[in-house]
Symmetry: C2
Subunit: 140 residues, 2 copies
């Protein structure tokens, strides 16, 4: 049985109030302003729980730590390899899922995530001829 908690409410509210896509660490440092003794483990615990409940989305960007999104409506994301920011994109038109031979995929599809990678509009402007890969944010 799910019980109420101030910490979880606070985390949920925080995420709903922004359009960027904070990491657990970012959520933690902000919530601490209101609940100074909250634990990082509690932040992770509740972010994962909220994601399992479908109230938020966990984004595995592959670039550093996971990010979290309070907007659960279907949309795609862009990850900037220079500044690391995660931007929302319109979801591209969804076609039926098909195996490599063209036949309909007959597993059970429960969710989908699409990430685009490159340079965000701000960073592309700052270095239009950028050729070098990965020099500002940690790659892994």
């Amino acid at each position: 049985m799910l019980k109420h908690s101030r910490q979880r409410d606070s985390i949920k509210d925080f995420l709903m109030g922004r359009t960027d896509h904070p990491t657990a660490e970012t959520v933690y440092s902000h919530i601490r302003e209101t609940i100074p003794n909250i634990s990082l483990a509690t932040v992770y615990r509740n972010l994962t729980l909220l994601a399992d409940l479908g109230e938020i989305r966990k984004l595995h960007t592959g670039e550093g730590p996971d990010h979290f999104d309070g907007n659960v409506a279907p949309h795609d994301h862009f990850v900037c390899r220079s500044c690391g920011q995660v931007l929302d994109l319109l979801q591209e038109g969804s076609t039926p899922v098909r195996s490599m031979d063209g036949s309909p995929f007959d597993g059970k599809v429960e969710s989908k995530q699409t990430f685009f990678y490159g340079l965000c509009p701000d960073c592309v402007e700052q270095r239009p001829e950028a050729e070098d890969i990965g020099n500002s944010i940690s790659r892994r």
Copy 2:
């Protein structure tokens, strides 16, 4: 300047010879049969290097460790939450990348990854009424 190495060739050859999507650990244990004293760090180093060169693809599935794909032609992937296997899918029709307001996205898009999650055909057959989420493979 890039120098030749037996280890890197062996890793590349291994990946090109299969259609599944091994993890670094899997690559490591197989290469060890030929080069017994190869280091896991060498495997990671070369997998990352080959991915940066565009010769292979690194897949951030978000479920456990990254996987690697010797097939660099555009296609999507399916990740089974029960058995963990990564399957190839036809890439869904690509439309121009657009921001949330519908305008063309004006960053520089360099790559894209789409993952579908759920139960693969084999696992869906074994438990057709599967309701429970994440009980066999480690979630993170």
